[in-house]
Symmetry: C2
Subunit: 328 residues, 2 copies
């Protein structure tokens, strides 16, 4: 590790190395150790906090833009941590020469998405750098929520059910197509959306163990992390994982695996077998969860095993390289 | 307003326009309206939140680096708002090719400064962009603190005393010299420091009205903002404002006004005349406040008037142009 590489931003193995060998070496604060999406803070009322910087390229894409993404992503990080999102701060780094019209369109998407998610944008900051010193606009959003339900990979047990709330890989493919300017008309849009209204009702389900939004690195990466943190195995069934036909088609064309593609409006949920039906019922009653499916189960052992369509078995590993940098 | 200009990041008039005419038009959340450094959030225990992105150039300078600055600046924003800083999130945008050694030096400064300030870094995020898509490293820090003392420009009254905690302009001049690679050996270092241990003891002083850290735009800009928000005037005495000889010298050489230069380890304080001595005593007992001085007073009327060394009077106005972009 001598210089920062694009792969350090992948969310995969190199990111993990950078975080563990550099950031955590110095940031020796107990609150930071869990490496979940949000950190719980002590206080009279328990609050959760999460931060993300957004550098997505291009900044406008089918289904959204960097502003909608910056609110959705942070809302989702809080929600999957068992917190009701309440407050968001927004820090902008703007490139000299950015058309104000574009900035306004981004800011207006943020306001709309915040309202949809029920969060208030309560603090802001704007910095401007010279032309060539950033790519249009980068946005940091930091979210604060009230913790309602303590969720943890350590709550999981063998036999628990794994659910995904809808089609996987849409965001990755939408960005990829927008970026490369393909002529193909796939109709695939990013799934970018705030999930608080879908997921907060699950906080009352007794057997709910853990949730995560599978962004960078896709459902494969978050389940590998779940497996490590829970000391349990995961078994996924390829045939049960919802992938749009067009997404599968583009993946085959470009050599992507939809299980590793980023999603920005999906959650992976681990729930007791007993309460899986209750979770599915709640999800199916919401437009953002109508395609929710059981995709696998928690097992004894370790690692994530994919049972393929032809009945073979494949172990899923963290990606070394980032197939799509700057996806969020 | 068609395109983003460097001046939109100045903290002066253009920044104000961008915030009022664009961000606040869309971000119509009551918590955001006060435009103070931190926003107070309701809850069982009142918390304050603040966010800042740091893009300082160069990222290492005499007296500090972007990491020390990113912690100090956010700690100071919370403290001057009457909150005890507790938690900080850190979002990194890294340029491909950044030497890991530099990153580590920045991260280790952040850890050290956080410890000095008594805050925990509790959430983090890392993004990497391609070479040429950012300038080495940009850092967002968002801070959460427990509100201990409600401070507001509206608490001020004519006759109140204005105090600055030490020499002004050091950070601006240190950056300017580091950037331009002057041969002059001025010995001026950035004052970059977390002020929580200096300022939190003031929360118990009865007549304390308002505090602010004079970063971008210097003491002139924060006092103009104070004057607008309080509907009162400010009278400053040039001879009473502590400016180092070397800073004055470089200012005269380069055409800067030290009153508009950024500080990263100073506070401007408004306190009742009755309690000014108590504040000065507390400040003088701390290494970061030993040069604290009374520099003026609050008056009826409006705007900021500077009484010059030769006895003339000059009205201070918000700067249109940024003499030193990317100062923080």
């Amino acid at each position: 590790m001598k210089k920062v590489e694009i792969g350090h931003g992948s969310g995969g193995r190199l990111t993990k190395e950078l975080i563990e060998n550099l950031f955590l070496k110095h940031f020796d604060f107990p609150e930071l150790k869990s490496l979940q999406d949000s950190t719980y803070l002590p206080g009279h009322r328990k609050i959760a906090i999460t931060t993300d910087s957004y550098v997505v390229r291009p900044r406008f894409f089918p289904g959204g833009n960097i502003g909608k993404l910056a609110i959705s992503g942070t809302v989702n990080d809080l929600t999957v941590s068992g917190a009701v999102p309440k407050f968001i701060s927004a820090g902008f780094i703007l490139e000299e020469g950015l058309p104000i019209e574009e900035l306004e369109s981004i800011v207006s998407s943020m306001a709309e998405t915040a309202k949809e998610a029920g969060v208030s944008i309560v603090a802001g900051d704007t910095k401007v750098v010279e032309k060539g010193s950033c790519d249009g606009v980068y946005i940091n959003t930091t979210g604060v929520g009230y913790l309602e339900r303590e969720l943890s990979p350590e709550h999981a047990k063998p036999g628990d059910v794994i659910i995904v709330t809808g089609y996987v890989g849409d965001h990755g493919i939408a960005i990829s197509i927008a970026r490369e300017g393909f002529e193909v008309e796939t109709g695939v849009e990013s799934d970018c959306a705030p999930l608080s209204s879908l997921l907060v009702p699950l906080f009352n389900v007794e057997g709910l163990r853990w949730m995560r939004d599978p962004t960078r690195g896709g459902i494969a990466t978050v389940l590998i992390e779940f497996s490590e943190a829970s000391n349990l195995g995961v078994r996924l069934y390829q045939d049960k994982i919802p992938v749009r036909e067009q997404v599968q088609f583009v993946c085959e064309m470009l050599g992507y695996d939809p299980l590793y593609l980023a999603n920005e409006g999906k959650a992976v949920i681990v729930v007791s077998e007993e309460h899986a039906e209750e979770v599915l019922k709640i999800l199916h009653s919401h437009p953002l969860g109508k395609n929710a499916s059981v995709i696998g189960e928690v097992t004894e052992g370790e690692g994530v095993t994919l049972v393929t369509s032809v009945g073979g078995e494949r172990r899923l590993e963290l990606l070394e390289e980032d197939p799509l940098p700057r996806i969020c």
